[in-house]
Symmetry: D2
């Protein structure tokens, strides 16, 4: 039974909408308004009608779909192929305190926040105020805002010391903050970085070596889709060739 506070996906086959349910609220679509109260209490897989009589199916969305189709993007996002890998590689799990910077549109934050439930927290440092409100809205859509704390602060400023169990950094010049990041991490804590260019990889590696991080790794993930046709199986004609290079290390 669908409860208040859950995030549901409404689809009419052509369009999909994602909404977090709150008693008394109304969700407007180009096909008419839908009362949240008409959804609460129903089962997933049942239908709901807008005030103009348009029919929608109520679907339980995956985080994956919320990230790809539900959140509003104000920045380039970290895609599921990367965010899933990052979260497992860093060992993000229940109870951890995780450093993240910047928050961007919150796509990685959502995946990591879901992993630290119910007793951990993601601490996001974002220096661009313009991204914070949008990221918060996206994280709230995913129902994970209680596991995230966003700070309007740059990595240059003071961070809590010996505090984080893991960290992930997606800023333009991560090498400038390595010392500060190191102090904020517990001993042995894993940390990751995403940068789009090879020059940034080199600069980051240099700073990590100087900062005595260990177990350094650089990796990229390529996702290749196939046309799902049994008798004419073949890769799609084109693919995303690059999102970013991932760098991992551990605080020694």
């Amino acid at each position: 039974m669908i409860k208040e506070g859950e995030t549901v996906q409404l689809t009419d086959g052509k369009h999909s909408f994602f909404l977090r349910l709150k008693k008394g609220e109304v969700f407007g679509t180009h096909r008419g308004n839908i009362n949240h109260d008409d959804i609460i209490g129903k089962e997933y897989g049942s239908e709901v009608f807008s005030h103009t009589g348009h029919r929608f199916l109520i679907v339980r969305p995956t985080l994956h779909d919320i990230i790809l189709y539900g959140i509003k993007r104000k920045t380039q996002i970290i895609y599921p192929k990367d965010s899933a890998y990052i979260t497992l590689k860093l060992g993000i799990t229940d109870g951890m305190k995780v450093l993240e910077s910047g928050v961007g549109s919150g796509a990685l934050t959502i995946v990591m926040a879901n992993a630290v439930k119910p007793s951990g927290k993601i601490y996001c440092y974002e220096r661009e105020e313009k991204y914070i409100q949008n990221a918060y809205r996206n994280i709230t859509l995913a129902g994970l805002e209680q596991y995230v704390e966003i700070k309007h602060q740059s990595l240059e400023e003071k961070l809590p010391e010996n505090f984080f169990d893991a960290g992930f950094i997606d800023v333009r010049e991560p090498w400038l903050y390595i010392e500060n990041i190191k102090k904020s991490l517990k001993k042995g804590a894993p940390v990751g970085f995403l940068v789009p260019t090879t020059n940034q990889v080199s600069e980051t590696l240099k700073a990590l070596k100087e900062g005595r991080f260990i177990d350094l790794q650089v990796v990229e993930l390529l996702e290749r889709y196939y046309k799902p046709v049994p008798d004419r199986l073949r890769p799609e004609d084109r693919m995303v060739a690059h999102t970013g290079y991932l760098i991992f290390g551990k605080n020694d």
Copy 2:
């Protein structure tokens, strides 16, 4: 402070051991025996000595490292690049009941079990008895046995109906069981498959289309490592070229 029941990693720089702590137990290495009681109560990052005086560092392991270096493999495992992606794509999260078959060495089971904590469960159907005990030991090493139920049963046999929130199938001929799998899944539930050959992809897609699964996707993930040398950055000479094709769909 490290507590009984936690899994720790001991490393002397050359070798790593993973053990789940239990009061009174002794862990034997080629460098002498270590009392679990000498670890319980210490902090991560501190050291412990074997009875022969050999020194080990106590590290908090990530699930990623437990899977890659800690578990005992009796089968080809599903690697982190794939298991992380599968888990996010299927939307595996707290409270879900997940169908898995077979259990293999439990590498994917561990990642999914960690994701359904604290109130969900992975139901593994494995027809080869010889794998079950090893998988159970691996899952226990990761501290996740209470979120997993392994059944010595093939997918041909009766499954609970309209029961699972998601499923992942890694067996040789998944197309034989599509009807049975479908009945066991709730409406709208996502399901995934891993198969190594293109012929198996075609057969599985055919069965999924006949079984009226929707949103079919076929994808493969490639993981390319770089030598982490700032001034001579370049990909490793060789890479894993194939683990398997992933197929995803939803129960309509």
Copy 3:
């Protein structure tokens, strides 16, 4: 000094034209007409003006550029990454008699014809009349028509026996003609195939095994471009993910 019969490239920075020079002829562009006689006798790197006074630079084109930018495509072409590889893998060289089918737009034909100069020949079997004239025009643009013989004939029909030093087949159902192809090849002659789907790869391999071809190989080539920016070096965002699978074997 540029001579009659050569193929030149004219470029005004924005547009490029490829023409084969013939005394007395006129080439029409949207920027006015250009007399071939105004080009013949000049050096590469010099300029020529249209009758309206528009200036073009005269460049010596590579086969690569003629194929990618000069020829008229009536079919999907075989790209340089594949045609260069095919030609070297098959050992196409001066004096060889090569079987090709179909001719398509002649993109591979041009590369192979250039390789068999001056005493070899490419024999193209094309059953679709509509492609032949266009292919011939493209091959002529590249100045290679004397090394190519196009036959309006399917691979079902009789081929010369024990005649070809090598072969390359790019048709929809190559497995139907394996026996006929085999008879036409000399003993030991290498042969290649391009097919877009995995199902076609399987069918072709099956027929090649039944036809007692040896040294079977299946390979695909991926071409990944980078943005040529020294300080922000990174792969292009998107790439071609698939042109076709290449299959190679030898007539035993």
Copy 4:
């Protein structure tokens, strides 16, 4: 009919040997000696016996196979996937004068020399004397020594001016010689580079931009093999992940 001067491949199913035929010479194998005279005059596909009675099949080798299996490697070689692409991209064809440096083991030299036949020439500048003799032997094995001139000279020294129709540079620090290379190339001539690291790509691009080369491109080629099994078609488990980055430009 096989003639003196040709290069043949002898195979007994397990081992292959490549030899260039010369009347009166003897070729020693671990299975006994073979008289060249016993091969000259035969047809490809026939057999020859060593003085101990061991049977070999006489095969016409492709350049591809001579490069991969016949030549002696004293350096990392440029593989066919790259050398075929380079040769087509640079438009290497009959009559061209081509700059190459260094010669390495001659693997690229062989492919380009075959392409400039019968009236062109490859000019190889190699500063390491130790490589020259081996490269010359390899090029001779391929029967192409008359199309190659190897100079024991570095790219720092004076090169002929406005002389080369194309160039390919495979040295550690190509950016040091860009000005010298530019002067040696004709206007509009294409030039390519192979470097293994991203740092070298950046340095080379910077020098090419400063040297006013145009149409800069950076590309890498990946070659992925499949197991040629019709009913269980799948990629090989492992692949070569990197040979080098290719950089192309044109002398403006």
